[in-house]
Symmetry: C2
Subunit: 418 residues, 2 copies
């Protein structure tokens, strides 16, 4: 087992061990937010035929070449083409066909005049403007040609993709599986949120924040529960988690008297790959993998609430995004100017929780205050995580730094752009 | 009814008519992504008592002031404080208490020495470094003081907020209601995705893309179905939609022969507020409201797939976000340089579907190609919507424009920042 890695070394190892999950077929209505594991080719032309872009009259453009408001051209309305029907009649010279938006253009006609540019007189229509060939006609296959690949594998299914798949009649679609993430914690001091906190007990809040971190990116949390500090109970909880794709435990992987977790999971067939990452918060991170091709990855997160969220954020989140087939796994990174001077001991990379403020073209980062790994409030306030490099001991006010943006609303606008 | 508004005028009217929805109480596990409709005050201190940040020994700092690796200080280990217990004994001078991370600091002790800085010898511990007062001690209430407001009303519930609420024992929380959005379409030419498209019929894909646009922001789509082009069927479908907070219909609000929708919904008690917005795609947008305080808002979207998505994007999406209590309703807007010259007729604002490419500090926008409102593929490719102002007729290559970013992955990184 490796020890005391840099964050970049840890990230590299985790990426190497993390598989992209295989395909599953899901109903179109469940596909939103998933990543396509197939390239979708069109099995039909869209639109399926030349059709009208307007409600109006299909006609021969040569018939109305000279039409104007002063000297309208009179055409006989020979028949009507409702939407959703196949026209069987032909538009002959001197005639027009009433047509509705989306209806197929009948043979003979080569353009459509908008209703607003006409006037009906008995069985005739007066056309008040010229209508060049193909005017208000949507071409067959203008959007999609049968056989074309319209959505490549690896594409996230958003609303437009849902609309496209529906248009092509695809009610079932092949996407990457979502990882099931078994979540557990250990510690005699831990209780559930509705539990009794008398006598210094505390809520096992990590499991809830971790489940939310999973759910937020579309992974499937499976909450196993709190193991007490006995080998037997830890063993029982891990066995319940073995069918997951990823196991995330918090607490229990340090060097304390009662930290049996490492022992227990090694006996269950887990190889620990590393322990300890030179970062703060979050040093005591363990990573391993159960044996066998489908053996779950295991992340042993630290017990402090901020450390648990931070190590999930930096390492588990990208791994889950990779598993789900996303092409980009990491948070947005912006350059920000420090609104204050920061200091630390050199040696570990610090992730400083900051708020972000736009000042003109610049972004200014201000620490959320107490950076103790016990202060969960620093995470509720944080919009970004400022990278304070391992070998630095001071970053002075006004200098620039990279900031991972964890508050997606940071980019949202208070106004539309019009 | 107003006609032919600018997009800004339409936005203003919609905002004025759109209510923020009232509160509901939901389980913590359902609160992720919702917006708090209450200010959450702490009912307990976090942490609940002074406690140890490390596994080690609680002691009197004055006892080990002179300790060093060469001359360790010897203390008798008088008792142990497990996590999750209340210590009843006191640490006296010359003694220490074995303590685990998270366990309360026993009376008498004022600091904790890490296990790594000690050596156990029988019943004694050799302390190899000095430990200043409060060292490795987390203060009671360091994170949260009982009575403090820790999460303000209006805050989105993200993973850190879930963790905080769990820590405070809040298993039920008050959030803004989510709008139920009834979705329907009308047209004899429309079929469901598994329907028969022979004879020029097309899939009613709008309902599916609109449902996905709703779901993506946390609103609750209720798909009513396809009405055929009779007053009776349109009436029946709208009646089924009346209990929703918002009704979104597509097609059927133009000036064509069969566009009964306006008539029908006015008879049902809907006041149409405006029709027609000077934009492209998407001119034929209707907006209204049913009578009564809880009468649903009605958006009549155009039938073309791109126009339907675009008018939802520009007007329905912000309204739904307002209803859910979000403070910011609009997409991110970036400045981008045009990678090509764009032209149009002046008069309407165009939303040009573009791909975005970072080139150094700059973002370059390139049209997705055919901008016809029938080309849904332009929406599947688009990362942004470039604002081509109403009064402009040319925007030249190299000039700058505002772009609404609709692809959230655009901001994501391919690398972590470390």
């Amino acid at each position: 087992m490796k020890q005391s890695l840099t964050p970049a070394e840890a990230q590299g190892i985790i990426q190497d061990e993390t598989p992209v999950l295989g395909p599953e077929r899901v109903a179109l209505s469940d596909a939103l937010g998933r990543v396509l594991a197939e390239s979708v080719a069109a099995t039909r032309d869209l639109p399926p035929a030349d059709n009208s872009a307007m409600d109006g009259y299909a006609l021969r453009s040569s018939d109305v070449a000279g039409a104007s408001a002063e000297q309208p051209t009179r055409l006989r309305v020979a028949f009507a083409v409702p939407a959703g029907s196949t026209p069987t009649q032909e538009v002959e010279a001197g005639t027009a066909a009433r047509i509705l938006t989306g209806a197929p253009i009948p043979a003979g006609a080569d353009s459509v005049i908008r209703q607003e540019d006409t006037q009906l007189e008995g069985d005739d229509v007066l056309v008040k403007v010229a209508s060049p060939p193909r005017d208000n006609v949507r071409d067959v296959g203008e959007d999609v040609r049968s056989g074309e690949v319209v959505l490549p594998a690896g594409r996230r299914v958003g609303p437009a993709e849902v609309g496209m798949l529906a248009s092509l009649g695809r009610t079932v679609v092949t996407v990457h599986q979502r990882p099931r993430v078994a979540i557990l914690s250990s510690g005699d001091e831990l209780v559930e949120p509705d539990g009794d906190v008398a006598g210094g007990r505390i809520v096992s809040s990590n499991s809830y924040s971790i489940a939310a971190q999973c759910a937020e990116i579309g992974a499937e949390p499976v909450y196993i529960g709190i193991a007490n500090d006995t080998r037997e109970d830890i063993d029982r909880h891990f066995r319940a988690a073995l069918r997951a794709d990823v196991i995330v435990s918090s607490a229990g992987v340090s060097v304390g008297d009662r930290d049996y977790v490492r022992d227990v999971i090694e006996k269950l067939g887990c190889s620990l790959i590393f322990w300890g990452v030179k970062m703060k918060p979050g040093y005591p991170l363990a990573f391993g993998r159960f044996s066998g091709e489908a053996g779950p990855l295991v992340f042993g997160l630290p017990g402090n609430p901020v450390s648990a969220m931070m190590t999930f954020e930096q390492f588990v989140r990208p791994a889950l995004r990779k598993m789900m087939g996303f092409p980009k796994w990491y948070r947005p990174v912006v350059r920000a100017r420090l609104g204050e001077t920061l200091t630390k001991k050199s040696g570990r990379l610090h992730f400083v929780r900051v708020t972000l403020e736009r000042r003109g073209d610049e972004i200014t980062a201000i620490s959320t205050g107490n950076q103790s790994s016990g202060v969960l409030r620093s995470m509720t306030r944080a919009q970004g995580l400022l990278i304070f490099p391992a070998d630095a001991s001071e970053m002075s006010e006004g200098s620039e730094a990279d900031v991972q943006v964890i508050d997606e609303a940071f980019f949202s606008s208070e106004k539309p752009a019009f």
